[in-house]
């Protein structure tokens, strides 16, 4: 494993299996860009079934709420946060 090799970013995948249904989160893929992320999502999560709609979103773009409004309870205390749900400033570099 080459030291300092940067990996492909993570994308969350949402699939709408058929018309009339919602997009549902099914998992994630690693890809370097939107086109290959879409293709990977299609290959991995739909086995290329037709009539299916796929959304891919950079994991870092997902903004999530805390379950049960825990932020209200604990104010400044920082419980563990999933790192990919937060923007890492570019100056900090790859984490």
């Amino acid at each position: 494993m080459s030291a300092g090799e940067q990996g492909w970013p993570l994308w969350e995948v949402f699939v709408r299996a058929d018309r009339g249904l919602n997009h549902v989160h099914v998992g994630s893929v690693h890809a370097a860009d939107t086109e290959t992320a879409l293709q990977a999502a299609r290959d991995v999560y739909t086995r290329r079934a037709e009539g299916v709609s796929i959304w891919v979103v950079r994991s870092t773009e997902i903004v999530a709420s805390d379950p049960d409004g825990r932020d209200d309870w604990f104010g400044d205390l920082k419980p563990y946060r999933h790192p990919t749900f937060y923007e890492i400033p570019d100056a900090v570099g790859h984490m």
């Binding site: 690693h30 991995v44 086995r47």
Partner: protein
């Protein structure tokens, strides 16, 4: 050899089936060898598509020739001189760039080729073509995406993919070349003329290579011969590996 007495349609079907089987055989060896897990899954999908196309076409060819042969007899019991695939699909996977370029050239050909075959008189062939053209379009989207990323990626990827293009281009002519088989089928109205395939192929190749900052070799030489069983020396190594188990237990069920 059975092909000397085969009808033009059966010969034509075997050519396409062999293209797909030999390519699937190459791809099948790549699982667990790709640069990322997503790519292992993708290459398996492409392999399964080509294998499926081959099997449907062998079944139809066997039915039409009426000699009681099965898809496996056709795949496993014919020797190199009876295989009718284009030379391109025999070419080995020197690296990921070779895998992608070989695939890209096949895809750029199969999209217009299967497109024409949707109008074939034989309903089974037309049916296979309708399914296969969708698969080919998906394959082309994937392979052209990779050609561009490798060509316009790093210096190393550019060098590798240009080397693959320089090597593999001379085997593409074999895909596109037609002879009295296609001419007869067109004259009979069995298969529409394939005249427009080369134009569509060239257009796709030129567009994608331009975006990938790649060039085609200037050497006009094309290594033909696969369609009449004059293959490269690669096929003679590929077939024994594929056929050995079937041949060493004649008549056995698997």
């Amino acid at each position: 050899m059975a092909t000397t007495t085969a009808t033009p349609l059966v010969t034509f079907l075997l050519r396409i089936a062999d293209d797909n089987l030999v390519l699937a055989q190459r791809l099948g060896a790549l699982l667990a060898r790709m640069p990322e897990l997503e790519e292992d899954i993708a290459v398996a999908n492409v392999c399964l598509d080509h294998l499926g196309q081959a099997r449907s076409l062998y079944a139809r060819a066997a039915e039409l020739e009426g000699l009681g042969r099965t898809e496996d007899d056709l795949a496993m019991l014919r020797d190199e001189r009876a295989f009718l695939n284009a030379t391109l699909v025999e070419m080995p996977d020197v690296d990921f760039a070779h895998t992608i370029v070989r695939q890209f050239f096949v895809d750029a050909y199969q999209v217009p080729f299967y497109g024409v075959l949707c109008g074939a008189a034989d309903p089974v062939l037309a049916g296979v073509a309708e399914k296969a053209v969708k698969e080919a379009r998906y394959h082309l989207r994937r392979s052209s995406t990779w050609v561009v990323r490798l060509g316009d990626g790093t210096e190393e990827s550019h060098a590798r993919v240009q080397a693959a293009v320089d090597l593999l281009w001379r085997y593409t002519g074999d895909l596109l070349a037609t002879d009295e088989v296609e001419a007869t089928l067109a004259a009979e109205g069995a298969v529409p003329a394939l005249d427009d395939v080369r134009g569509a192929f060239d257009a796709t190749v030129h567009t994608v290579l331009a975006e990938a900052t790649l060039t085609l070799p200037t050497d006009p030489y094309q290594r033909l011969g696969g369609r009449v069983g004059v293959h490269t020396e690669h096929l003679g190594h590929l077939l024994p590996e594929m056929q050995r188990l079937y041949r060493s237990h004649p008549g056995a069920r698997w």
